[in-house]
């Protein structure tokens, strides 16, 4: 058997791209890394594997705890981590979902081609940068009064469409139709809503961005046709989350768990894995608050979409829907926790257990934590929008500014290999501090424009340096692994035309 070892953590190669950290000591279940040898080398360089091993200590974790091909060190739970936990006897962990609840991506189609945009990139990037709030303190597309906050938290995209910030088809093409049915805004703190007020419809900063892209490659014609994608087409990709409202909610509940469930916290190897026991009042309140934050993030991306449509309408002097065909392809979260039903090994008591102790397999409701991982449900699942159900759920994998992005579809093997999940991006390779030492924002911008005709505009040169193409892993390799494992099949590749960021 092929094995690898990183800082005392031994991995056994089960098959191509599947590496297991066997159960030992206090691990409840084994962990698996889905990666090629090259990606595993990078994953092994930081603290990802230790964090993944720590995650197996969460009570009720179902075999296996997973790290996606783009995984890297996070805080407590690794980025790229998937943890499926028994929703009856296990727990829910805010840290395993992430601070930016429903950080995610959406792609908007257009009927424009690259030829329509070429020569007008500077005009377009300036107009988008001017119109769409980014960075710190830039405000939002709308003022978040009490009614707007309440509407967003409770009704999600449905509220935005009813207020004129979208069209009916936006609902049908969003994960969960843009509304979590179990959202409970009453469990979102005043402090959190205070922070959301100034940020309704804003990108923020860091790795969040809006990018005009052109489709360069189509790999699966039939699926691309169902998604409305073709070579040369212009699309818009929006990457952001629930802003300060979501960040505050995560911290509010981490602190409440610390106070109200200290015993469970003390049994965990990292305080950032803080979890509320399934069935507890706190677990229910967090789940409801998180659902409301998920809705808020969808509204955030919806408001940015609305403003983007207006900008395209102005720049191209056309109706964004009727003339430019700017319909939502899909919106999908990559920091999220949801109750989902999966078939798992169960023991004599009917509870999920490790395969070696199992007497049967059965459907169980799980809290599926995806932190830097994307749901990737295959064709036929009822959760996939009707328009795409026959081909599988769209999965959007943003790459770096210079390397392009991918559209995948949920693969046939995803339910058995990764609890219906795949990667979420290229994954960072280099720290922000190191990136700023190695790159200068102005040079990166100039190089991208001169060598690749990519127009970048940002609030801060430091952000451009921190997000330089060289700080990310090879997104092509991440997607290749996803495709070969059958968890997310490549459909199309896109390449940046204009990019705005905070």
């Amino acid at each position: 058997m092929t094995t690898r070892e990183f800082d005392g953590i031994r991995l056994e190669k089960l098959r191509e791209h599947v590496w297991e950290i066997p159960r030992e000591g206090d691990m409840n279940v084994p962990a698996r890394v889905l990666a090629s040898e090259a990606l595993l080398e990078e994953i092994g360089e930081d603290d990802t594997l230790r964090q993944l091993k720590n995650a197996t200590h969460l009570p009720g974790m179902v075999e296996p705890a997973l790290c996606m091909p783009d995984g890297h060190q996070g805080y407590g739970f690794p980025v790229g981590g998937v943890g499926a936990i028994d929703a009856r006897t296990g727990c829910i962990s805010p840290g395993a979902i992430g601070y930016d609840i429903n950080c995610g991506v959406r792609m908007v189609r257009t009927s424009l081609t690259y030829d329509d945009v070429r020569g007008r990139e500077a005009e377009l990037v300036d107009a988008l940068f001017e119109a769409i709030p980014s960075g710190l303190g830039g405000g939002g597309v709308i003022d978040g009064d009490s009614d707007a906050i309440e509407g967003a938290l409770s009704r999600g995209v449905e509220w935005a469409v009813s207020e004129g910030y979208g069209i009916e088809s936006d609902l049908a093409h969003c994960e969960d139709e843009g509304r979590r049915p179990d959202a409970k805004p009453e469990y979102v703190s005043q402090k959190a809503t205070d922070r959301g007020r100034n940020q309704m419809g804003s990108l923020g900063s860091g790795n969040h961005f809006l990018e005009v892209q052109r489709v360069t490659d189509v790999f699966r014609e039939e699926v691309a046709e169902a998604y409305g994608l073709s070579e040369g087409q212009i699309v818009v990709l929006i990457h952001c989350g629930s802003r300060g409202l979501g960040h505050q909610t995560c911290n509010d509940y981490l602190r409440r768990i610390e106070r109200e469930h200290a015993d469970l916290l003390e049994s965990l190897p990292d305080k950032e894995l803080a979890a509320a026991p399934a069935g507890s009042e706190l677990a229910e309140e967090y789940y409801g608050a998180m659902g409301a934050c998920i809705n808020f993030a969808w509204v955030n991306r919806q408001l940015i979409t609305h403003r983007t449509r207006e900008v395209f309408g102005d720049v191209f002097d056309a109706d964004p829907i009727d003339d430019l065909g700017m319909e939502l392809l899909y919106d999908v979260a990559h920091n999220i926790g949801k109750k989902e039903t999966h078939e798992v090994p169960v023991g004599p008591d009917g509870r999920p257990t490790v395969a070696e102790d199992a007497v049967d397999r059965a459907d169980r409701e799980l809290y599926v934590h995806r932190k830097g991982a994307t749901r990737a449900f295959p064709a036929g699942r009822e959760e996939v929008p009707e328009a795409y159900r026959s081909v599988g759920q769209p999965v959007i994998i943003p790459g770096s500014m210079g390397a392009g992005s991918y559209v995948l579809r949920g693969g046939a093997e995803s339910m058995s290999v990764s609890f219906g999940s795949t990667a979420h991006g290229a994954g960072r390779l280099m720290s922000r501090t190191q990136a700023k030492q190695e790159f200068w924002g102005g040079d990166v911008q100039d190089d991208l424009e001169r060598e690749q005709a990519i127009y970048v505009k940002a609030q801060s040169g430091a952000t451009v340096a921190e997000e330089a193409p060289g700080v990310y892993k090879d997104v092509d390799e991440v997607v290749r692994v996803s495709d070969e494992l059958g968890i997310g099949d490549t459909v199309a590749r896109t390449f940046p035309v204009c990019n705005i960021k905070g």
Binding site: D46, D47, H72, Q73, G74, Y75, G76, V79, G95, Y99, D100, G135, L136, G137, K191, D194, R195, R197, N198, Q199, G204, S205, G206, G244, H247, Q248, C250, N251, L254, R255, E258, R259, D270, K271, E272, A274, R428, L429, M430, S431, R432, T433, Q434, Q459, S460, G461, A462, T463, G502
Partner: protein, 146 residues
């Protein structure tokens, strides 16, 4: 007192040392400011004060930094030039609570966000957090989510 920004793959960490707990809190907060912005104008902005109470030193540091990030988003300022006074239970005396209460009374200069090129630090985290007394004073290590 002093701080350094440390490498972290996705995030940023602040490592700080100081002769007293109060100075340590201010040093970590100065590190948070530095992680947000390359260069803070020497003048401008109004000072504001805040007070936080928690059940332990670590929890107090967490709540203090969380509050600074909250104030940033609500006041639309980058908090800078931090001053802190940490009050430990021994100096408060017995109270009615089961848990001892640690308090920080702090002040900062709120530099308007439109006057700086600041980037967003999303949140303070407990990940790898260290707060301890050492032979030569106090030491802290805090990871922030970017």
């Amino acid at each position: 007192m002093s701080y350094e920004l440390r490498d972290h793959t996705a995030d940023v960490a602040v490592e700080a040392t100081a002769p007293s707990l109060s100075a340590l809190f201010a040093a970590v907060a100065d590190g948070l400011t530095a992680a947000s912005c390359e260069s803070v104008p020497a003048e401008g902005g109004e000072r504001f004060t805040l007070r936080e109470a928690a059940e332990s030193r670590e929890a107090l540091l967490f709540d203090y930094l969380d509050r600074l990030i909250y104030e940033r988003d609500v006041r639309l300022v980058l908090p800078a030039d931090h001053e802190c006074r940490v009050i430990e239970p021994d100096s408060i005396g017995p109270d009615d609570e089961d848990e001892p209460t640690y308090i920080v009374e702090a002040g900062a200069r709120g530099v308007p966000l439109d006057a700086v090129a600041a980037r967003e630090i999303k949140a303070v985290t407990y990940s790898e957090m260290t707060l301890e007394r050492r032979d030569d004073g106090w030491y802290a290590y805090v990871v922030f989510d970017v």
